[in-house]
Symmetry: C2
Subunit: 168 residues, 2 copies
DNA sequence: CGAAATTACTCGTCGCAACAACTATCGTCA
DNA sequence: TGACGATAGTTGTTGCGACGAGTAATTTCG
């Protein structure tokens, strides 16, 4: 058990959990929060949020092609119900541009700009270094295992619409 | 139409990573995001955020004692630079109360109210069910391992001020 | 052909989070 | 005792995120 009450109120990391599942989730939350701080620091320097960076990366991966807003939104790591304004902000900074498709004027195609690609290139190394700082202290084997367990953990909660697109 | 051509752009979960560390972090992010959705749903029903719930739980654990604002802030799972207003909102709902200490008028002591305790009791079961839904599909052994790996992952990034409190 | 449904966003509103600048209180040391 | 820091919160501003309602373009179907 925990050390016999060094102090009454203060039990910093030694917390009592109602269940093992809760323990895991709180650990997940805290670990995400700690590691995220490092990332935000890197992105903050160029005025991007992690989500914005994520969107730009996806666009870069198909550069110089474009993709519709909704497709982009569905492929982001974290769900974003406000794609429009996220893209608004990036467009205002000229990191991407949007245009309606003539053949289906409901669809807005999004394309990363040259300037956007340049920005990503500029911070690429810093981002990689950041990931090393975040997790570089773990062994390859542990990293693999962690990635696998995380995938298993969320597997039942993945929106099926994501996966079904590939084979329709 | 579109059958073969859609496949080009759409690669839902199959993403290419720059490094193993990045892969782990993105998995961490996504898993957190997915599981968080379930929690937010439960808390949303009583108008709480996860962070607010977290604060109330900490206060409940020392009920009917109180603790200073800054101590509470430092013990939250996720960092909160805006304790004052978080507590403002909870106080407005009469879930807790605050009072300045007479012997040191800089310190504000926070105490959960009877109403707050009652609210926590009311949702306790739903929260536990939620944790089961989040992670109940994993084996005990995997959950243990996941919790351990997560702890190891964030270990170098824990603020030491947290840990030093226990033995002062 | 035209009304209804569907799709793909867009916009109004609100609350919360982040950073910084500020205030009040207390300890300290010349 | 009175300026100087340090401590503990508070407040201003700004911006992003979430939810929902609204709009425009296309498809469906009687």
């Amino acid at each position: 058990m925990a050390k016999t009450s060094t102090r009454t109120a203060v039990t910093p990391t030694k917390r009592t959990y109602d269940s093992l599942e809760q323990e895991v989730f709180l650990n997940l939350w805290r670990t995400y929060d700690r590691l995220k701080t490092l990332e935000d620091d890197v992105f903050g320097r160029v005025g991007l949020s992690a989500q914005q960076y994520n969107a730009l990366r996806l666009l870069q991966s198909i550069y110089p092609d474009a993709m519709p807003t909704l497709v982009l939104g569905s492929r982001l790591i974290s769900r974003a119900p406000d794609m429009t304004r996220l893209l608004d902000r990036l467009e205002r900074r000229e990191l991407l541009n949007r245009e309606r498709k003539p053949e289906n004027r409901r669809v807005v195609e999004v394309r990363i700009s040259k300037k956007g690609v340049t920005l990503l290139d500029e911070i690429h190394d810093a981002v990689q270094e950041c990931h090393q700082q975040q997790l570089g202290h773990l062994k390859k084997k542990d990293l693999r295992q962690l990635a696998d367990l995380l995938r298993q953990a969320r597997q039942p909660h993945e929106n099926p619409s994501h996966l079904s697109v590939a084979d329709e």
